[in-house]
């Protein structure tokens, strides 16, 4: 047996900082799992239709922004909390986390102005921000994204816009899955101190861009083969169901409270 095989290894890798790779991996994984999760959302005859949801959420955000009444803002906040409480626990957790993070950030930002005497903003704005963020998050966590894109078509958005939006969501997923292994590879190959990691990051992003160009060409060819003309048709008209009616009623009530309180 050669002598060097019997010698005990004394190699200890020099510690290196690579938290930026970890962070990039985590944020990419977060996006991917978020896109995956939304395709499992149930939909059908007995659920509220997406166009109503999009329109009402938009209405709610406008009312919140216009309102000067603390009571109205509180009512909406409570109603949104009640709606959140009906969802499964993991969704509740994510929705509340986003809402609280945004509200807390606003609160911190506004603290100095409160010391200058602006007592209106310090109470109203964080509550408004919490409600608006929660409303949008409830929409995006309880509706399949393709239904939201479909709803935009009902609001007469140009086809080219819907086309681009549709491709974007799909390819965020595809490109994300494509670039994740590159980040893993960079992490695995950086044993000990690797000073060239930073240069590799631009390589990964650059490769992502070149890959996206290739994907675009392939996709166009595939679409042409299937006879896509660039037009989207909405299949069938929406039939109102009980869920829709109840959902609309709640929002009409919110509108009435807003008109009463200002």
């Amino acid at each position: 047996m050669p002598e060097w095989l019997l010698k005990e290894e004394q190699y200890e890798p020099i510690p290196d900082r690579d938290s930026f790779i970890d962070k990039s991996i985590l944020s990419l994984l977060g996006i991917l799992s978020r896109i995956r999760a939304q395709s499992g959302i149930p939909s059908g005859k007995h659920f509220v239709h997406a166009p109503f949801k999009v329109a009402c959420t938009f209405l709610l955000v406008i009312l919140l922004s216009l309102s000067k009444s603390l009571f109205f803002i509180l009512t909406i906040n409570v109603a949104l909390l009640a709606a959140t409480s009906l969802l499964p626990a993991d969704k509740i957790f994510h929705i509340l986390k986003a809402g609280f993070a945004a509200a807390l950030f606003t609160l911190v930002i506004l603290l100095p102005s409160a010391f200058w005497g602006n007592r209106y903003g310090i109470v109203m704005l964080p509550l408004k921000v919490f409600a608006a963020v929660t409303a949008v998050n409830i929409l995006s966590r309880t509706t399949q994204w393709r239904h939201i894109t479909g709803a935009l078509k009902t609001f007469f958005l140009p086809d080219i816009f819907i086309f681009v939006l549709d491709i974007t969501i799909r390819y965020i997923f595809m490109l994300g899955e494509f670039s994740l292994p590159m980040l893993y590879a960079l992490k695995l190959r950086s044993v000990g101190k690797n000073n060239r990691k930073y240069a590799s990051l631009s390589g990964i992003t650059g490769t992502m861009f070149i890959k996206s160009k290739e994907m675009a060409e392939e996709m166009n060819a595939a679409m042409e083969c299937r006879g896509f003309t660039g037009e989207y048709r909405k299949s069938g008209r929406i039939r109102m169901n009980w869920a829709d009616a109840g959902y609309l009623l709640v929002h009409i009530l919110a509108l009435l409270i807003f008109l009463y309180l200002g």
Binding site: L64, K68, L70, V78, P88, G121, L125, L165, I210
Partner: protein, 333 residues
Amino acid sequence: MHIPDNYLSPATCAVMGAAMLPAWTVSINKLKKEVSRAKMPLLGIGASFSFLMMMFNVPLPGGTTGHAVGGTLLAILLGPYAACISVSVALLIQALFFGDGGLLSFGANCFNMAFVLPFVGYFLYKFIKDHTEGKKGEYIGIIIGSYAGLNAAALCTAIEFGIQPLLFKNAAGQALYCPYPLSVSIPAMMIPHLVVAGIVEALFTVAIFTFIKKVSPGTIYEGKKEKNKAVYGLLAALICLTPLGLLATGTAWGEWSAEEIQAVPASSGQPLGFIPEGMLNGINFEAAMPDYSIAGLPPYAGYILSAVAGVAILMIVFKIIQNVKSKNNKEIQ
């Protein structure tokens, strides 16, 4: 730089949205002329690229990380019109699906990040590249373009924040939306962008551009050479904006401190000569509630509201506890 809802007034949001309409229309028309139909999917894939680029964290001095926006890079790679549409779509997805940036403030966010950023960045890059010889000019153009583009966008954001307290106040004179005037919002936005974010953006842009140019030189957008008029227009606009920056250094009108207010000329032309009583006594936190329109509501409205809130919060707490418990049980098994 994503402005959430309720920081800007709905009126400002509407104005910014209206300002974006011509930008979107011109971009789409330009694209239809320049880009063949075969390249249309590239817009969507460019948008996903710009969305994902913001997920890449770059190490910053001091152990923290930050991310680049990449608006100028996208404009250099795909052309400014394609960048405008792609970034707009990426912003819409962030607002609608990820809750990042507001729905109402979508127009304002697009104006800053999908219009000002790529166009300022691209035309500065183009101007410098066309007026210098060799490779050096191109790289200097990229650095200056991406640095200036990001900072121009940050300046626009700061101005949008800063005009809120001037325009939108309640009866008591308190700001309804973002409370900070230009004298606060401009330095607060500009200092971090000038010192850190702009440099990160410039370095990232140059590094990726160099890589793509080396690996796949054919994929970079080649614009026409005569773009000078647009650059001069842009520079003129920026020069017009600089007084706003100057305004930020002095005390803005209406924001005097208690000492300064004595010297402010009153309507007769004489200095005011006294300090308003309310300012001397400082801030009264006691009087917070009367500002809100709670008065005039029947008392049971408050009870109902707190009852519903209580039930909702209890349900949320129970569900989360249950979820944690069932997870623990699974791990034990």
